[in-house]
Amino acid sequence: MLPSDLKPEQFRGYPPEAKKLVTRHLQALQQLPMSFLPNLLREVIDYDFKFPAERAATEKELVALSSLSPEQRSQWFHSFSAIEVSSKLDQLDWVSMPGQFVEQLSAYLWTTHQLDAFRKAALEYADRLHQVVPPEAPPIPRLGIAIIGEGVDVPAEPLFRNLRPHGAYFSRVKPDNGLDQLLKAVAARADAHPLPYGHWYIDGGAASDHDPLLTCVSYQDLEPMRSALLRKIRTEIAKPGMGPEQLRTFLAQLRPADLGLRESEGTALDRFQVKILTEGSGTQIFSTTFAQWAAREALRRAQPLTLLVRFAPRQRQKPMNELLSGDHSEAELDPAGSLIDADMGAYYNWINQQRLPGAEQSSFLAWFENHSEALVIAPSMPRGTESTTVADLHELLSWMS
């Protein structure tokens, strides 16, 4: 089936809000090339379970597509139209299962050496879309916080090496009640600027006491879901004919109820957590990977005003079969390796924050937990500098604003 053949009834399996949205813009969707449309539908089909920022972006994108003249549409999509899609792929039910289609399209593009052309087309499209729908600046400058190094007394290597060129390094920070100070600062922002899914706290271990205004995700809270997932993975792997790609497809189809949540569909946050575990690589077994990937996805999808991420020690590396066994009762931890993971994770958090609108005004704080080292990036802070000023974290935050 081709996009031009699309009819409203083909979307009957879509959740209600997604169905309304797609029906409203059906005429525009019918004009889109085959190499593009299923990618868009992959986003639209999850519309009901998306965060407000994602919903707004999807709506604006569809409005923009609907408003294109035939000439403009031709300009926007000529690169996508030049990408050949095999008739075998056309025959898949890409309307009902756009995610699976995109997986197969991806393999097809690699095999036919069209991936670079697709990549170029995607970047051109993004540029055009941004010109028509410029990203909205956040109501207040964003703040990112990364807490790293729990359980380590002395790091083996200098910390924050990737971040230092972009900010000021403080070597005499007063660490007392540091976590508490940071959580209170984040809560104060949430209280002053309430926004659904606007202020997040992600913990790679057990979440500390925090204000209920914060959207909280923690590795420990998801332990039952992780165990359920690992059991399912073990069962699937044992089936004849199962391979990595089949496993990936299986994981992509899991819903909150499959992993023990009561509501079959779940909230946007439930879905987010399931996706962190089913789409992330290593998030199920390493808490540092979990924290980094959850932060990346929270920034990309929810575009929060505030994000505090606390990395905790991960279990020591073992053969994958043992890691998958789900037996965490006596998991040996690797604090030193986890600090290195988290230091890189903090850098990635900052990079991902800077991809969002308002990057010029945003600020970022990385702190070596319970120690005197911190790194601050803010418009007001000189780059690539070091300070021996004695200050607590509350003061550092006040200097950033």
Binding site: A57, T58, V102, E103, W110, A122, G282, Q354
Partner: protein
């Protein structure tokens, strides 16, 4: 494999840089490697010397020429290797090997960035399109088949040491012109160990890790009578000795290197291909484990070069090729997640390097020009004297 971001939700363009084109990025990458090598390792730029000092070849001996190829399944990026901040991770490559080597700064892989299919492409000189996750042979003739057929070499003269599952079919293609029995013998060290242990794996689990592009998929390793025969008949190792030595090792790649050394001593093949895989632990997202893999791989490459010098069959007549199968994603590409994967198809994930040293190779020279992964097989053909008629690449003139 995953599809790159199509730029929705404001993620399509990186705001940290001015989004240079893939070609510009590849060029910058090449320049940074060259500048670093020139200043830190004291090597010369090949282009300026080519006319004046054409091939200061090592003294050719009367012994049969041998070639060893080492590929890394799991590319390593510049910032963890040749860039200033990465130097500490590769002391053996930097201080011991590069001063003796010709270094090619820009090796581009235009094919599918999956480890099995990319390694198969390196071995055939054609960008293979086989399923990366299936145990199937390459579609085109392998370097081992060309080598054995053209030079009339016995099966024992071409060997592959590979990281278990998936790579067990890489020794020969399903090409009609060549076919079963004409390629390399493949040895899978983890299968050997599994067979030797007869199910009692407790003390050896750390050697049986499989790092996959989908790290959660971990099929059971197989080991059978065939592997035990390889152990005793070919490698001349008793099960007890093998188990005792394996206990002293810390990773699958160390096990592979131990088996490689045994092969060199007992069989001394003229064409030996080793695929290392520890670096690919990066897919689990733990940066410390990725860097640890790079450091281990660097050390093993240094040890291999010493083995070559110490084995009479190899010393003085062996050319060693070391190259990752491809790179890994850039930190700046919003479609990826930095070092963790190689899914974006961006310039950094496609661009890597190659280090060549030993017999017939100029020492301490850097070559900047772009070459492709598929150039390896024609180059090996030029060195060893066979004709890879179906390979797509071209011989590297600086080496043949």
């Amino acid at each position: 494999m995953s599809i790159p971001s199509s730029g929705r939700n404001g993620e399509g363009r990186n705001r940290l840089a001015d989004s240079p084109s893939p070609r510009e990025l590849a060029h910058r990458l090449s320049c940074s490697r060259r500048e670093f090598l020139r200043t830190a390792a004291g090597v010369a730029l090949g282009g300026t010397l080519l006319g004046a000092n054409r091939f200061a070849r090592a003294a050719e001996t009367a012994k049969k020429r041998k070639v060893i190829v080492v590929t890394f399944g799991g590319g390593a990026r510049d910032q963890e290797t040749f860039a200033p901040q990465g130097q500490e991770n590769i002391p053996h490559l930097m201080r011991e090997l590069i001063p003796q080597a010709s270094f090619f700064t820009q090796v581009v892989n235009q094919g599918i960035l999956g480890h099995y299919v990319a390694t198969a492409s390196l071995a055939t000189g054609v960008y293979e399109t086989i399923n990366n996750f299936a145990a199937i042979p390459p579609e085109h003739p392998t370097v081992f088949e060309y080598f054995r057929k053209d030079l009339k070499r016995p099966p024992s003269d071409a060997w592959v040491v590979a990281p278990s599952n998936g790579f067990n079919r890489i020794g020969e293609s399903d090409s009609r012109s060549f076919g079963p029995g004409t390629g390399a013998r493949v040895i899978l060290p983890k299968h050997l160990l599994t067979a030797a242990l007869s199910g009692a794996k407790t003390d050896y689990d750390h050697l049986l890790r499989d790092n996959y592009e989908t790290p959660l998929y971990t099929p059971e390793l197989a080991g059978s009578e065939f592997e035990l025969q390889q152990l005793e008949m070919i490698l001349k190792l008793s099960v007890d000795d093998f188990k005792a030595h394996a206990k002293t090792l810390s990773s699958p790649d160390e096990l592979s290197m131990y088996i490689t050394h045994q092969l060199m001593r007992q069989v001394a093949p003229s064409l030996l291909w080793i695929t290392l895989h520890d670096i690919d632990v990066a897919h689990a997202g733990a940066y410390s484990l990725y860097v640890e893999g790079i450091r281990r791989t660097d050390r093993l490459c240094g040890e291999l070069w010493k083995m070559i010098q110490s084995e009479p069959e190899y010393a003085g007549n062996t050319t060693l090729f070391i190259l990752p199968d491809f790179g890994r994603d850039s930190d700046q590409d919003s479609g990826g997640n930095g070092f963790q994967h190689h899914r974006t198809g961006d310039a950094l994930s496609r661009t890597t390097w190659m280090l060549v040293l030993g017999a017939g190779v100029r020492e301490g020279v850097v070559f900047d020009r772009r070459m492709e992964s598929t150039d390896l097989v024609p180059t090996l053909g030029g060195i060893l004297g066979f004709s890879p008629s179906l390979a797509q690449g071209r011989p590297i003139p600086e080496l043949v």
